[in-house]
């Protein structure tokens, strides 16, 4: 796939049989370490993984495993709801953070914290906040209403929603920052001209901001989709896939099968995701290797 991609754009390079100059020999030597890493830790594992997933029986077993179907649906919900919500908020907040105010500058410094700190301690912190007995949320609910709060992580849909929330909390700053750089690149004259013509806030967004940010926004959304597919931490550390394995996504399901020693199922579940991942990857590579 990568080969066909580079085909039309590659700088015509002389055939390898042509005499190599000294710098080119050095070039090969300096490229060799990465090629070795690539062969040993990408090509071999991927090939080995595909080989492990070669039995049709694994796919039949997956098809009959209700947890797999549930995980596939969860992954779709996670992607569709989580990413669109996240990107919409990021687009909105990028406008907020693009405002020239001292206090907003300071706020943006703090705002980046979720992205700067590792996810494990903060996700575990949220996990305890949601603890039905000891968590601060239910204790506050009890204090104000004298009623017990819900058992947050024991309801699969609420638990999945919370995992999506954790994912958004963690990655929102990054995307806001990226969209903000896109916004700051828009010429200010456009807005001033629109202001003179009496354009409303929504008109300015519709006719100036959105057209110039469209491409960036879509690129970000696709990239975020690929990365979110691999988001293991948000689900695993918050719910552990529970209750009753109902909140797994594809990223955690593979690991679950691995832990149950069902390696071929683990690989087969990943192979099932490839038809969705590869087109996205292809599209992103076209975008980035321009």
């Amino acid at each position: 796939m990568a080969i066909t991609l580079s085909g039309d754009q590659a700088i015509p390079s002389p055939p390898l049989s042509a005499r190599l100059t000294t710098p080119q020999v050095w070039g090969i030597v300096m490229l060799a370490p990465y090629l070795l890493v690539f062969l040993a830790f990408v090509v071999y594992p991927v090939g080995y993984g595909l080989w492990l997933a070669r039995h049709p029986a694994s796919y039949v077993a997956l098809y009959h495993d209700p947890i797999f179907a549930r995980a596939a649906v969860n992954t779709l919900i996670f992607l569709l709801v989580g990413i669109n919500l996240k990107m919409a908020i990021a687009l909105f907040l990028s406008g907020f953070f693009a405002q020239q105010r001292t206090w907003i500058k300071w706020l943006s410094v703090l705002f980046i914290l979720p992205w700067a700190v590792p996810s494990i301690p903060t996700i575990l912190s949220v996990r305890f906040m949601l603890n039905p007995e000891w968590g601060v949320i239910n204790q506050l609910i009890f204090k104000f209403t004298a009623e017990d709060g819900p058992n947050w992580l024991n309801d699969p849909s609420v638990a999945l929603a919370m995992a999506i929330g954790v994912h958004i909390w963690k990655s929102l700053p990054f995307w806001t920052l990226i969209l903000m750089t896109g916004r700051l690149a828009i010429s200010h004259d456009l807005y001033e001209a629109a202001e003179v013509d009496g354009a409303s806030w929504s008109q300015k967004f519709r006719y100036i901001t959105w057209p110039s940010m469209q491409t960036l926004y879509i690129t970000c959304t696709l990239l975020s989709m690929i990365w979110t597919l691999g988001d293991f931490n948000s689900v695993y550390l918050l719910t552990g896939g529970g209750p009753a394995d109902l909140t797994h996504v594809l990223a955690t399901l593979g690991i679950r099968y691995l832990r149950l020693d069902q390696l071929s199922l683990a690989m087969a579940s990943i192979v099932c995701a490839l038809p969705f991942v590869l087109p996205l990857v292809y599209f992103m590579m076209k975008r980035l290797s321009r």
Partner: protein, 283 residues
């Protein structure tokens, strides 16, 4: 002095109406973690927003390893440091050499390698984890720090090569030509011209790889298992194994674990924002 008009006040109020929820949303999980770290056990579990008796005792327990879950804290901390630094250094060496080779020496097939690397960058890391685990087993590297270091290098280098290639494409070719005219060998060109000019990007990439390896949980918990060999995040995850986990100690350890990356991030923010986010998404 001009008094702010009604419209300006309204604007400011609207901005505050966005800013305050954003601030609360951002800080609550971190504040909650900090709160646990400075609370004695009774206060931590009482749901108070500020402990009645704030204490640093939890930190003392962690630092002196005075709890069953923390008996290997310093070794695990040290493991995290060694793995993060090694992964950072190795990534930097491999990626710089590769970017130099592709961008400056225009090695045949360089573009091809670039695309393969980019392809790897887009495979979700959690998908590669399962085959990677088996591969490390086949290589006999399981429960060895090298397995995690090499896995992190594999994951970090594609992006590193891509960013470094973008940056080095911007250096004028005349520099290389002039140096070669003066009789510089390829290695001298690399050492004396290329690396010094690429310093800002190298700092950004080194930091990126170090943070990636320090923060990694999934691969660390798959590839390492002995208590004296795991990294801090895996140790944090292991707290959950018990029903009566000492959450205040878990949060304290988590807080200590989160400090170095946050400090590094803020210290190198200038480089990170310029070098990484600009390269992350090209519109």
């Amino acid at each position: 002095m001009k008094l702010p008009s009604l419209r300006e006040i309204g604007n400011e109020a609207k901005l505050l109406l966005i800013g305050i929820p954003v601030l609360i949303w951002t800080l609550v999980p971190i504040y909650h973690m900090f709160l646990f770290a400075i609370s004695p056990k009774e206060d931590a579990f009482s749901g108070k927003l500020w402990p009645a008796h704030p204490t640093l005792n939890n930190f003392k327990i962690v630092f002196y390893q005075e709890h069953y879950f923390l008996r290997d804290f310093w070794i695990q901390f040290f493991n995290s440091v060694v793995i993060a630094l090694s992964a950072g250094a190795l990534t930097l060496m491999i990626a710089t050499a590769a970017a130099f080779s592709i961008s400056r020496l225009r090695v045949p097939g360089g573009r091809w390698v670039m695309n393969l690397a980019l392809f790897t960058y887009f495979i979700p890391a959690a998908f590669l984890a399962v085959p990677m685990y088996r591969t490390m087993g086949n290589y006999g590297l399981l429960n060895n720090h090298w397995s995690l270091i090499l896995a992190m290098v594999t994951i970090a280098s594609p992006y590193a090569i891509w960013v470094l290639k973008q940056a080095s494409d911007k250096l004028p070719v005349e520099l290389d030509e002039a140096a070669t005219m003066d009789g510089a060998t390829t290695l001298q060109l690399f050492r004396l011209v290329y690396v010094p000019l690429m310093m800002p990007s190298l700092v950004a990439i080194g930091t990126y790889a170090i943070l990636l390896a320090w923060n990694e949980y999934l691969y660390a918990f798959l590839l390492l298992s002995r208590d004296t060999e795991i990294t801090l995040p895996v140790a944090l995850g292991n707290f959950l194994a018990a029903d009566d986990s000492p959450w205040e100690l878990l949060m304290t350890t988590g807080f200590i674990y989160a400090l170095p990356p946050a400090a590094i991030y803020y210290a190198f923010r200038r480089y990170m924002v310029g070098g990484l986010t600009a390269g992350a998404v090209k519109s």
